[in-house]
Symmetry: C2
Subunit: 276 residues, 2 copies
């Protein structure tokens, strides 16, 4: 395991996602109720990054490269246990199965694949979307009052700095779009650099893409897969979230995340219930 850096010891993200060994077979965590999406409900990406920390702690590999989670019920914070069942482990990758539970029972189950990412340049990449610089984008926290329907700011916006691409932020100015697409620059507000654990959280950090179309309700995550594809360079990450099909009360949310150099560092897809 890498030795924690000073910034990891003082970062709000690292404190809120810390896991520790105990006497029993399970790891322990204290889920921080302030990482919420509104209504006291913990963000799914935040929960996944806690599970990611447990996965690498029990793995010979450093990085969570594929994490698939089922969200069994909403969590609101407090003491939690993480039961990690190791699967096959080799030189290239290792598998494990994680169950995170709070005092009321299981919250999420996660299939984790860990590996050791290198800085190999890509052999093939799709192009990065063109987006205004963070300075020209809309600070979501500072502009929530502009939305046609008042948006209650999720607790986690104090930890995650988000700047919405004006091209996908017309909803925040009362002019919703037909396209369920959001793009934003994101970073940890306290300056902690992004890493694979932070990317697991970024992969569910934007509002539901239905916000872009003027529907600002909560869209509960049912199942989320995040792939971490590279180690992010320091600086802002660009996140694009897109729904491709909304039908019968279900939607997908498809994320692609690039680092400040334009490298694809993560991609994710979730099945969610549609916002009411």
């Amino acid at each position: 395991m890498p030795v924690p850096q000073t910034d990891e010891q003082t970062s709000a993200f690292d404190l809120a996602t810390a896991v520790r060994r105990a006497d029993g077979p399970a790891l322990l965590a204290d889920l921080d109720p302030t990482w919420d999406v509104g209504g006291g409900i913990l963000n799914g990406g935040y929960l996944l990054s806690v599970a990611g920390r447990a996965a690498v702690l029990e793995s010979p590999h450093e990085h969570p490269v594929a994490m698939s989670a089922s969200y069994l019920r909403a969590g609101s914070g407090g003491p939690a246990t993480l039961q990690v069942t190791p699967g096959p482990a080799g030189r290239t990758l290792a598998h494990s199965l994680i169950t995170m539970a709070d005092e009321a029972g299981p919250l999420i189950t996660v299939q984790a694949t860990t590996a050791t990412l290198t800085d190999a340049p890509p052999d093939y990449s799709l192009p990065v979307p063109q987006v205004s610089s963070p300075d020209e984008c809309l600070d979501m926290a500072a502009n929530a009052h502009l939305a046609a329907v008042p948006v209650q700011l999720p607790g986690m916006t104090r930890y995650v700095d988000s700047r919405l691409d004006p091209a996908t932020a017309r909803w925040a100015l009362g002019k919703p779009s037909d396209e369920p697409v959001l793009r934003a620059w994101v970073r940890l507000a306290d300056g902690r650099p992004a890493d694979p654990l932070a990317l697991l959280m970024f992969a569910d950090a934007l509002p539901p893409t239905s916000f872009a179309t003027g529907k600002t309700g909560w869209a509960p995550t049912v199942q989320l897969q995040v792939l971490v594809r590279a180690l992010p360079a320091p600086g802002w990450c660009l996140v694009e979230a897109r729904a491709s099909e909304i039908a019968g009360g279900w939607t997908d949310e498809d994320y692609r995340i690039w680092d400040s150099t334009g490298r694809l560092v993560a991609q994710s897809r979730q099945l969610a219930r549609t916002a009411r």
Copy 2:
């Protein structure tokens, strides 16, 4: 559970994916070694459809809507057990965790979400790609000999009829493309209509997208998520597979599947090791 139809009792797909109750807590299956991708290795989508059948057998809901599987090692067929651990179940959806093992140990672990899909029309859809009709497409089984590098036909091609879009089939004529994209019409060769279980298999049924770029090696699946979005209409399904990032020995394979009416019926993403 729906009563099996006559065609389900006689279809090769239904016979090969059958699961049955036994005295113990686990379900039993006989993995059919002829559903292989070459080299006696079972197709990942085939394994997932067996798990999907176990998921719906133990669920109050009829359809697998989200299935995330970790592929622990390659399977080659024979007797298998499926341990289904039920999670929360409600009126909208139910969760479970499935471990499929053969005589040598666990093969895949799967997080299953089941629900009951309706025929609600979509509220939002991305457009369907324009592709020639199946008759104008390339029958993969009949044309394997044309490939620049000889392609060994996977066993499963006898069960799955695939017709490659000529625009993404130039590799089969010795003229590879720069784009790792394949499109094909697929259907079960014995005429059994597609359903959510068949879609789980279709979501991993094409060759690796690296074939389009002239690399015809096997690309082992590490983790695969399939979302089933609607009940498919009878007839051919259109499958588009695309890699968005290939780097450091890893690739993603992103599938979208439409039915014969142009409705999006499934989408999937897998992390795989790149073909050698």
